[in-house]
Amino acid sequence: MIALNHDPYNLIITGVGGQGNVISSRMIGNMLAAKGFQVTIGETFGASQRGGAVMSHVRISSKATLSPQIPVHQAHMVVSLEPIETLRVLESYGNPDVGVICNTRPTHPIGVISGRLSYPSTKEIKETITRLSARSWFFDATAMATEIGNPIFANIIMAGALAATKELPLDRNVFEETLKSKFPPNKVGLNLTAYDQGVGIINTDNASH
């Protein structure tokens, strides 16, 4: 079995209810379980999903079954579908060595829409994330996904981007097999396109650091 950069490896996928967090974490989890790793995915869904912040803890080990919650300040990588959710996660789970992949498209909370609260500027968010992490990538995954045909593909773009960082042993063949086992044939093509675009944006260095 390929050695992990860290064992256990702690990955957090975060975003807002409805962004496809759960699918993304399951795809990544399945890809790693297929390679023989022990995977635990901790997540909550239900009421918390209705426009609330959602967070999946994906934990990978070659040794033991891990708990569904990453201990505070122990994340190795944060994949975030929404900018301020990145900050929320880093505050509790970050550490000086953490990596971040961040979708730059904001989803405003109700408090911001109604004007009671304000949303930090993109510049401020990027600067803070850069300071709080060892390495970071930023791009508008929602815009890329909309171009493919549906903003929901942002979650798969993020999975592709994660694969391209080589943080985890994720490969495209396993992604394709996993897709085929989970989705109807007509959905496979677009998901592969989304995955490849995620890989592309990291490899062509178009994600602003």
Partner: protein, 641 residues
Amino acid sequence: MSLLTRDNPGETHLMMGNEAIVRGALEAGISVAAGYPGTPSSEIIETLAKISDDIYTEWSVNEKVALEVAAAASFAGLRSLAVMKQPGVNVAADFLMHLALSGVRAGMVIVAADDPGALSSVNEGETRLYAKLMEIPMLEPGNFQEARQMTCWAFELSETLHMPVLVRTVTRLSHASGNVTLGKLPKPDRKAFFQFNGDMLDPMEGPIMSPPVGIKHDSQQKKLEQAAQLFEDSPFNTYGGPESPELLIITTSICDLYSKEVVALLNLEDRVGILKIGTTWPLPAQPVLERLARTRNVLFVEEVQPFIEEAVKVLVAGSHLDLSSLTFYGKYSRHIPTAGEMTPERVTAALSTLLQLEPDPVSQDYPPRGTALPPIPPREISFCPGCPHRASFFSINTVLQLDNRQGFTCGDIGCYSMGMLPGGFFTLKTLHSMGSGSGLASGFGKLEKFGMNQPVVAVCGDSTFFHSAMPPLVNAVHNRSSFTLVVLDNSGTAMTGFQPHPGLPVDTKGDQAPPIDIEKVCRAMGATTRTCDPFDLEATQKQLLEFINGDGGVRVLILKQACALSPEKRHTRAFEVTVDPDSCLGEACGCNRICTRVFSCPGLLWDAENNQATINDVLCAGCGVCASVCPQNAIQRKELP
């Protein structure tokens, strides 16, 4: 084919805790499964309905009926499963008490899913106490593999004892995923026949009932003693750590994983031992006493109630152990919090205090000093874009305000419970259990005699209506109470993922079924009824106002509009919604920014720079209701084909 029905023993797959429970039930060869949807239990029945044509699955009208449906199968010789979230156990408790006494025939297992931390509940109820109260055995899986194994073994245990067996899971297991290695799938003989001609006390051939109570209760307790014996050498109770640990952790459920992880993280493997109990009730004496004899300090790591803590203390008090040589830490000593779910941090905190450990340097220095984070706006949960409940509560709230007699709304359980939050205009003033909104309204509606003249409104969803709002409605009509029930009919059990209910023309497997018409039922009960589309704000408000100002009695307004996430509506838009920048006057309008500040649909955005509302093209569901809210007609909607 679903991996859950693969007959390849030894294969390992990533499964959700609930899927592992499904697999365990399939490996036990169940024939019938019934339940009522409730987070975090819903995926069990849902998955069974999807993957297996050999078994009968049913979304029952409520948990008590589900338990009865499953029990009938057991009585007829078929292994059966009943599934519910914790509050459902409360609903089913009356039947359960009698079932525990009468006993069962073929293996029968009740899976109860608790939600410590109330991640998706309005309570933090605890099922484990029911095992003690009902005097039935209980197992608590501590990981994904055990979720499969224990569920499967629970059927055998049930058949050995002729008792229903409780399997208690929690959100962090049911909704988490982990590696599960498959066992064998049997090919059971599924012949149903109810034997009743045998002796009254013959569990296999006699009639099945709780009397004669004295004899049955006595035999029930003997069976529990037998269960405790069987649990003595169960592989589900494990110990890891030094022979004589400085501190012994006694834990159950998913808390075992937190304990193991934290002990490893803090490098305490040489000082701390972990005794994990899987056969929680009745607590087996030997494995516990054996470990207690080799330590002086005990920490109980468990969620919600100090269940294991109390059971162990009782056990010690009646044992040969010298009580004065042991010190117990846990919920009673406040080393483990008494409310909220378990986290690695809670285990860390308890161990750090008890073993006087240095604090973790990373937690102290991160975020690094001088790195101020901008204020992060909290993400309050709210109704989805295009949700009919937002429109319904907007109307209820508007009408009660207009009426101006301090009328109020009694809430109920579903997505619409969020009517208590800002996104629901703080409309709900009471919120308790399923159907309680109608029961409370029935009571409030009788207080005119004591000077109360506030209009009373209750809300309930379509699934909740069948689950438990019908009896209070009958009560209200018969006792001449006076209130308006608004049935928020969004065509499915939306909050838990669109499970069908008796009001729909389909059954659990999606096959055709006779729908029961809510309005006709209410009319048959003697209530005055109307149906409106909540998206038609004007008509809805007019009808509500008429009901509230009417001359008493029970009135039912059905607000019918499918959930925005329902399979038939998802990804479709009825309208293209735009904001005409020339018409929107922003703060100068005098509308108090009704669209964004008041109606506050997440499909809208406030463009502070241009002092105008805009539409969020990614999130807008195209319901067009905000166009009716805008007094300037700046929000415009165009019907889409």
